[in-house]
């Protein structure tokens, strides 16, 4: 077993399913360049020993990452990152980031405070994610 590269944390009040929180944190680590192709994700045992969650939750998150083409499981060894989402993709997202900046400026101009902006963003984010999930069905 090599070094542990990342750790997970769970927010019980977020309303987001725990396995999706883990998926999100792996994606985040990929985007930040903390993880790249070939890196091993923490084993299920390591995760549950740290976070005190059900092992099936971690397995489910890793299966979802496989489904998204970001990781692959090697039986008896562990789960490995198959694709980097590092610097290049951040640069690719520059236009989106610009639009988000502009929107944030508008929101502040409209008198929204930081918690207000966060609340508006997370509600909209969740609604749109749910709507997309519905559309997929």
């Amino acid at each position: 077993m090599g070094v542990r590269l990342i750790e997970f944390h769970l927010d019980a009040r977020s309303g987001i399913a725990p396995y999706l929180q883990i998926v999100g944190q792996v994606r985040q680590a990929l985007l930040l360049g903390l993880l790249s192709e070939g890196d091993q994700l923490p084993t299920v045992k390591q995760v549950v020993a740290k976070v005190a969650i059900n092992p099936n939750t971690v397995s489910k998150a890793y299966r979802e990452l496989e489904h998204q083409g970001l990781a692959t499981a090697k039986p008896g060894v562990g789960t490995f990152v198959t694709r980097s989402l590092g610097q290049a993709s951040l640069a690719e997202h520059a236009p989106l980031q610009g639009e988000l900046r502009a929107w944030l400026a508008k929101a502040r101009a409209a008198g929204l405070t930081e918690p207000g902006i966060e609340a508006l963003f997370s509600t909209t984010f969740r609604e749109s994610a749910e709507a997309e999930k519905e559309a997929e069905k």
């Binding site: 769970l10 549950v48 020993a49 005190a52 969650i53 059900n54």
Partner: protein, 299 residues
């Protein structure tokens, strides 16, 4: 693989007091099962029957496909940690491991030793001098080193502070991941269990009110808020678990297999705590008997 626990109309009566009634459950293997209910609901009675310490007065039960405590082999397959994680106060940590080794045919001495070191427990320390958290960890170590297929824990974290609670659950989950052990653990607080359990049983007033995989239960239940209306005006196929009316508004907690169609109402999912409390409150309502709801359906 057979169900970890199969109960059919199981009941236990102490004289005139009914401690457990018409308990029907079918729990598939590979789960961490949370048994939730208020104090005095019958949780301990159910767990004691499951590990063979109590005989039921009605119905049938099988644990891992056999009668509880049918023979030494069956006893070895089930680990049990009683309420308040009891240890022998006069015996040292090392004595507990020796005792465990003598009494259990499948005892894993290496695992027990490794866990004691990991927990930083001093082998010569008397169990009576350990903190509550350390005592709980020692009891868990003895139960886990027995290498059971099913581990039954009665209120293991109730008396622990938040830090010891988290630490206990971490070690429990680690051992589940390592050995593929199935677990049934009870608590009167769902918040203790929601991170670790993927199967939930709600037991109130000696009856099972709800049982199933946590994810399914969460997906099936909605809170519908709308202008005041009758239950019969809701979309079909929904079972109303609770209805609350004000002069202008109705709030329904409903259960149904499908998503709620769009309409002049808002529908949202409940979190686990609200879901459990809804069933607890319904069961505490004297007008409700708690038997109308089929539970423990196998998938």
């Amino acid at each position: 693989m057979s169900a970890i626990l199969h109960a059919q109309a199981l009941g236990k009566r102490y004289g005139r007091r009914q401690a457990l009634a018409e308990c029907t459950l079918q729990i598939p293997p590979g789960h961490v099962v949370g048994l939730v209910g208020p104090n005095g609901a019958g949780k301990t009675t159910l767990l004691k029957i499951a590990c063979g310490m109590l005989a039921p007065t009605a119905g049938e039960i099988e644990v891992l496909g056999e009668q509880p405590a049918a023979d030494p082999a069956q006893l070895a397959r089930v680990g049990y940690v009683a309420q308040d994680t009891p240890t022998y106060p006069g015996l040292s940590v090392a004595d507990h491991l020796k005792l465990g080794a003598k009494m259990n045919p499948r005892w894993d001495a290496k695992l027990a030793q490794a866990r004691i070191e990991q927990l930083d427990l001093y082998p010569k320390q008397k169990a009576g001098k350990l903190s509550g958290g350390q005592r709980a960890q020692l009891a868990l170590t003895v139960a886990v080193a027995k290498r059971p297929e099913l581990l039954i824990l009665d209120e293991p974290v109730a008396s622990l502070d938040p830090l010891a609670r988290r630490s206990f659950l971490r070690h429990l989950m680690e051992s589940v991941a390592e050995n593929n052990t199935s677990v049934i653990l009870s608590s009167h607080l769902v918040s203790d269990l929601e991170r670790v359990c993927d199967y939930l049983i709600v037991l109130v007033s000696s009856r099972v009110q709800l049982a199933g995989e946590t994810e399914d239960l969460l997906a099936q239940h909605h809170r519908i808020v709308c202008t005041r209306r009758k239950e019969t005006d809701l979309p079909s196929g929904l079972e109303v678990i609770r209805a609350e009316q004000t002069d202008r508004q109705s709030t329904f907690i409903v259960r149904g297999e499908s998503e709620i169609p769009a309409g002049d109402w808002s529908a949202e999912h409940l979190d686990l705590e609200d879901l459990v409390l809804t069933y607890m409150e319904r069961a505490a309502d004297p007008g409700h008997r708690g038997t109308t709801h089929p539970t423990g359906d196998a998938r």
